[in-house]
Amino acid sequence: MKMVGQREPNVLPGFGITLGFTTFFLCAIVLLPLSALVLKAGGMDWERFVAVITSARSLASYRLSFGASLLAATINMVFGFALAWTLVRYDFPGRKFIDAIIDMPFALPTAVSGIALTAVFAGNGWIGQFLEPLGIKVAYTWIGITVALTLIGMPFVVRTVQPAIQEVQRDLEDAAETLGAGRFYVFRRIIIPTVLPALLTGFTLAFARAVGEYGSVIFISGNLPMKTEITPYLIVIRLEEFDYAAAAALGVVMLSISFVMLLAINLLQVWGRKRLMVSR
């Protein structure tokens, strides 16, 4: 760990120039464009702004984006935990291979996963053909959107939970079992408390990614207004209608959600670190 306290005067060169370059680049590529968005939306008159962001179509899109993202992040919390647990605790043939392909959704372009998922889950697809007779339509419904959002959020949960499971002290588990605790009790009182901050961080990261996701969703969603239209897609529609102000207003809504998510993630990480310190 890095020590905090008095430091020797730094002899390394390049502070001014690297800080200057970093700040300049950051401002030019990230901050200036983002402020253009906020100012564009701020330039609208208030009533029109409210009318745009609370129109029935916008509200329906938030409901879908949020609902599907929440559901996907929850599914990932359950299956992501199972996956992380399997990878950390069990040894089975192909474990290293599975561990490596967990990151696939990070590396796979979203358009590719979008058309591939649609092909698999369409009524005549490999998996869709078995679900259709059961009355479950996946492609072009909110279920398909949830499937796509689950795929892109999966590595976030697995990769944050994995190190946390490695932290669980096995001697503590063994001690508890020696004292007569059942497996479920150990799970509830030892494993879950240790893993909880990571699990919630992973959940939030997956949710944050899912809310803004575009590429993998639009192919499988069908994009029916009021039904299967996510908020990012609605922004694209407004842009195509050259209604820049409305697009900017919806963009500001999305951006605010991003900021709230960032804050939540940072708070969760601070909380997790504190808990780890206490437990040692």
Partner: protein, 290 residues
Amino acid sequence: MAGPATSEAIAAEIASRPGHTNRRSTLVRWMLIGVSLTFLGALLAAPLFAVFVMALEKGWSAYFSSFADPDTRAAIRLTLTTAAVVVPLNTIFGITAAWCIAKFEFRGKSMLITLIDLPLAVSPVVSGLVYVLLFGANGWFGAWLQEHEISIVYALPGIILATMFVTFPYVARELIPLMQQLGNDEEEAAITLGAGGWFTFFRVTLPRIRWGLVYGVILCNARAMGEFGAVSVVSGNIRGLTTTMPLHIEILYNEYNYVGAFAVASLLSMLAVVTLIIKTLVERSGYRRR
């Protein structure tokens, strides 16, 4: 607890001891492995496999002839061009940012780190939208750009800018924690012994951060070549001119040219596989993410 009386009871007691696998824990183990693999199989393996099956549906010759299409070639070229500009720029930025953040103490540092990570939290569509608002016909600089006949949006510069935005943090966030952990001692020793700044960087710092750098660069590259949402908003989708590979997939797919769409998708899937292989090799070499 009554003492074990029979040998069966003794065996049962031993089996229930911690660390001892009994039938129930074996069952739980195989159930968890089964559930995990089914989940991954349906969500990840099946779609990935489907890309190649769909691409080869009409045979190898149809597969290869889809790359003869001039628009497809133009899309591949555009994607390569974009990555060739964006990845080096973001690499230089990442190294510079990591140097000033990891090597020096200053006020507002954690704020700076948060701002560098910001693009990761922003929706790709919003990342594209901001450039349209800035450089589009009705944007801040729109009139001025039109006067000077410079096109940024719906042209290559816009695609490059939007791609830079979304891949902005990749190298920096890999290098910052790595360089913070390595500390300043070796660089300070080099400088004190009279080495110049560049010499110190190339001979002392770079060899120690190289795996982290490779890691950040390949992930940056994968995202740069595969970005869809942000580029889609700024590109205007002019076929053969401003369509990158992911956008070209969309066009072909919407025209029901599935072999063509999945053929381009198969190239990007191979890129993803290669990225993961390099990433795994880097991790094998002892590099650990922080």
